[in-house]
């Protein structure tokens, strides 16, 4: 390919900046790689200025900042956007009623009502996506946002199942985010009482044998016996873990203890929709995990959560998952043991467990720097943050997550999305990520337009595998989009996490391609 003299000399000037990856050491001896490591794992990747900040305040101070999100003010523009989202969105009670009304209309009126129902669901999904993604991208409380991702997957609900379509946003806001760095028992309790979980794992249908609804107008009167789904996942996924020392008998008994835990949008008790319905509760005697359980109504379930939250098996299970998320796909067993110990001695204080994790020699070990393969969620967020792109319209990002196989709130199974390389590394993943990188780098994602417009919910054009689509589409898109991402700034932001080899290829490529190469590089697929 022939370049004019002007282009060539321009490239040579640029290359000096591009080829300067040498890890900087600040005067007090902070290793740039170590600084990047904490940024990569405690946040969704460095944004412009982040690396300089950590180099300045030091790694310990940065970790401490992140462990205390309440001390970090939310910047004015973000809090304004969140406030307007908050005032625009309906309460869970209103949403449930709107959803059921729409369902009834579909049954009786057909196609027109279907369009209205679609509009409702589209609006609700977009609001949930905005609340999640704007905070994940722009909040200075990055570790809290990272933990929201972690805990949502741990206590996963699927937005494609019935009522949960309209409940995921409140589930995250009320049951996950406030407890992301709090005590495990509080988090467990909040998820157990939330209608999104009660609906998703069918506990609202679980009733004492022989229970009959009498003239009860509660929707879909299908409650016809014990449903073990929630009880099973509560032990297998949420607390003890699959090898946590329980058997089928314990599942059945726990399900019996949880009968009557349901929700009612007509309830007048404040904001919470949870109700305990004693008529549905199985008051018989039970034996569970080797313990005698005497009849106690709702208290049986509350006590069961206490027991589960304080089990050593739970401490190990949560610790393993945290270490896998923050350190390595196969975490070092001694680290897991130490974290489990910390979990038990602090009564499941998540902040304390994380402090131990981040201080551990395993977390700090250079071998684990850049060792995790990003999930699509981490990949998309870190790309946006590195590019320093302002986002007002999250639709292209929701579309990108769909295309990359990780739709937001779209994991069907209760075990949530995995965060391991084995789960995400595939030929499809690589080519689609490169497609996304080039669309973002070329300014072809409509991130600034009004939400729900311009970008569409699926940026099919932008994500055309390799990315560019036809030349006609590229012209159209560049008119609507943003200026291309500046590769030099990108490389400064990402520092030595981009290797010398990648920098060399970038420097030798056409300027228009450079940012796409950085974001689509093997280095940036990892963190």
């Amino acid at each position: 390919m022939a370049y004019g003299v002007g282009k060539l000399s321009g490239m040579l000037v640029l290359s000096t900046a591009l080829l300067a990856p040498a890890a900087l050491r600040a005067d007090d001896g902070i290793d740039e790689r170590a600084a990047l490591h904490v940024l990569n794992r405690l946040s969704f990747g460095p944004a412009p200025g982040d690396l300089a900040h950590v180099m300045q305040v030091g790694i310990e101070r940065y970790i401490d900042e992140q462990l205390h999100p309440e001390r970090l003010p939310i910047p004015e523009p973000l809090s304004r956007e969140l406030a307007s989202l908050d005032s625009a969105s309906a309460s869970p009670r209103e949403l449930i009623n709107q959803y059921r009304e729409a369902q009834r209309a579909v049954r009786s009126e057909g196609e027109d009502a279907k369009a209205l129902q679609r509009d409702l669901l589209h609006r609700v999904a977009l609001e949930a996506g905005e609340a999640r993604l704007l905070q994940a991208l722009q909040s200075p409380r990055q570790l809290q946002e990272v933990m929201v991702d972690f805990w949502f997957n741990h206590f996963n609900v699927f937005a494609g199942k019935g009522l949960d379509r309209v409940l995921v946003e409140s589930y995250e806001r009320e049951a996950i985010r406030p407890y992301a760095l709090g005590h495990f028992r509080d988090l467990l309790g909040a998820t157990a009482h939330h209608p999104a979980m009660l609906f998703y794992l069918d506990n609202w249908l679980s009733v004492s044998p022989g229970f009959r609804l009498r003239g009860d107008a509660r929707p879909t009167a299908k409650a016809s016996g014990l449903n073990e789904n929630y009880a099973r996942e509560l032990m297998e996924l949420h607390t003890l873990g699959v090898d946590g020392g329980y058997d089928q008998h314990d599942v059945t008994e726990l399900a019996r203890m949880l009968t009557g835990w349901t929700f009612d949008p007509r309830t007048e008790r404040g904001d919470a929709l949870f109700v305990f319905d004693p008529r549905r509760h199985d008051n018989g005697d039970k034996t569970w995990l080797g313990r005698q359980v005497t009849a106690g109504g709702q208290a049986e379930g509350e006590w069961a959560l206490d027991v589960l939250a304080s089990q050593p098996a739970t401490a190990r299970h949560i610790s393993y998952q945290l270490a896998q998320y923050f350190v390595a796909d196969v975490p070092p067993p001694p680290l897991v043991e130490r974290l489990a110990h910390r979990f038990l001695e602090t009564d499941g204080d998540i902040r304390a467990v994380l402090a131990s994790l981040f201080a551990s020699k395993e977390f700090r070990h250079p071998a684990f720097q850049g060792a995790k393969f990003k999930t699509p969620y981490q990949y998309v967020l870190s790309s946006l943050r590195a590019a320093g792109r302002p986002v007002h319209n999250v639709s292209p990002l929701l579309g990108a997550l769909n295309q990359l196989g990780m739709p937001l709130y779209g994991c069907l199974t209760p075990d949530g999305y995995k965060n391991t390389e084995e789960a995400w590394l595939s030929p499809d993943a690589v080519s689609r990520r490169i497609g996304f990188a080039s669309a973002l780098a070329g300014g072809r994602l409509a991130l600034e337009s009004t939400p729900g417009q311009g970008g569409g919910t699926m940026p099919a054009t932008a994500l055309a595998g390799g990315g560019a689509g036809s030349s006609r589409e590229m012209r159209e898109a560049s008119v609507k989009g943003l200026p291309p991402v500046d590769a030099t700034l990108l490389l400064t932001t990402l520092g030595s996490s981009i290797s010398a080899k990648t920098r060399a290829v970038v420097a030798q490529s056409a300027p228009a391609l450079r940012a796409a190469l950085v974001l689509g590089s093997p280095d940036f697929m990892h963190h």
């Binding site: 057909g110 669901l121 019935g162 595939s426 080519s431 689609r432 099919a460 055309a464 390799g466």
Partner: protein, 417 residues
Amino acid sequence: MLRRDFLKMAALGGAVLHPCGRAAIAARGAPGDAGAGRLVVVFLRGAVDGLSVVVPHGEPEYYRVRPTIALARPGGEDGVLDLDGHFGLHPALAPLLPYWQGGRLAFVHASGSPDPSRSHFDAQDYMESGTPGRKTTPDGWLNRLLGALPPVANPAPLRALGMGAVLPRALAGRQPVANLPLGDRATRPTLLDRPNVAQAFDRLYDNDDKLSRAYRESQRAHKEAMEALDPARLEQEMSAADNGAPPAAGFPGDAARLARLMRQDEGIQLAFMAVGGWDTHASQGAAKGQLAGRLQPLAQGLAELARGLGPRLDETQIVVMSEFGRTVRQNGNGGTDHGHGNVMWLLGGSIAGGKVHGRWPGLDSPALYEGRDLAVTTDFRDVLVTLCERHLRLADVRLAEVFPGFAGRGLPGLLKA
């Protein structure tokens, strides 16, 4: 959350072929050896009304409980196309009648899932995971089937293929599979088709680690699809073999495209397509109307697929299935609600055609499931097990991997002796 609607999927499709799944490096692919069985699954999302597909016109009860949406008896105006004196085919499915007459089309009535769920989400999930009642199964039955098929020498990235915007649950899992967008997006060139761009990325991904190998695999699969779907070649083929172009949009076009791909690429052994829009709670219609309007292109597409496969139809078993059936009795809005038993359609392959298989439980009240729905007398897995075992020649021991925990032995007489 959006309905998984076929048209929407078509509209939202990505633009290039991507192999999905993990460990795509494993040496698997082209079966190559002639006569290896192939399987195409067409999933009707939203629960199609099976009683309007294969109509029990011999049952007075059918006409009693469906006063305005029943299809007329054969011979009448807009009547069903008689199959065997008891059942008849919806008139919109006329394009498929020649296959019935030629012994290439069969049905299994009163089939479905043993799980009682009437939730679209749960029921589709169970049917695609192949494990009714179990929510934590991580992979789909087609993906496990791919892993259980005898390995072959030459890796072919397209051995298992999904068509649609996203990878279907049935194909998700450890085995590498390909996903092909619908419509003309399948052949749209990408940035990586430009030599200078590909060259730069090739250099970034020139290591021997998993990531670099995955990158090279994706490039290879993309080239293979572009070649198979080369527009110039397609045009030539269409005028020669297809006697005119297929309709521009929707299922018939995509079915014809799949046929062409399968004819050209012998390595494709499993394929999955989904078609939506069957949730007819209101104004379902009868010989004309909403449901008929959707059955018509479906039949046309299936006929395109069969015709496009030509002599390959013998080795290709096409299965049409849906998550559950609909209520026997029509509701107050001229529609039907979520039910239980349904009908599975079987076209081509080794099927013993011209027959409605399974045990028909009847529509009289005592025979109904929970007093309202067609009962399930054949587990859908019995049908699939039969196809896996006999048509795909899967060893007994591997069957348990595809349908773990299922003890059924298949459906006798389903395939040609």
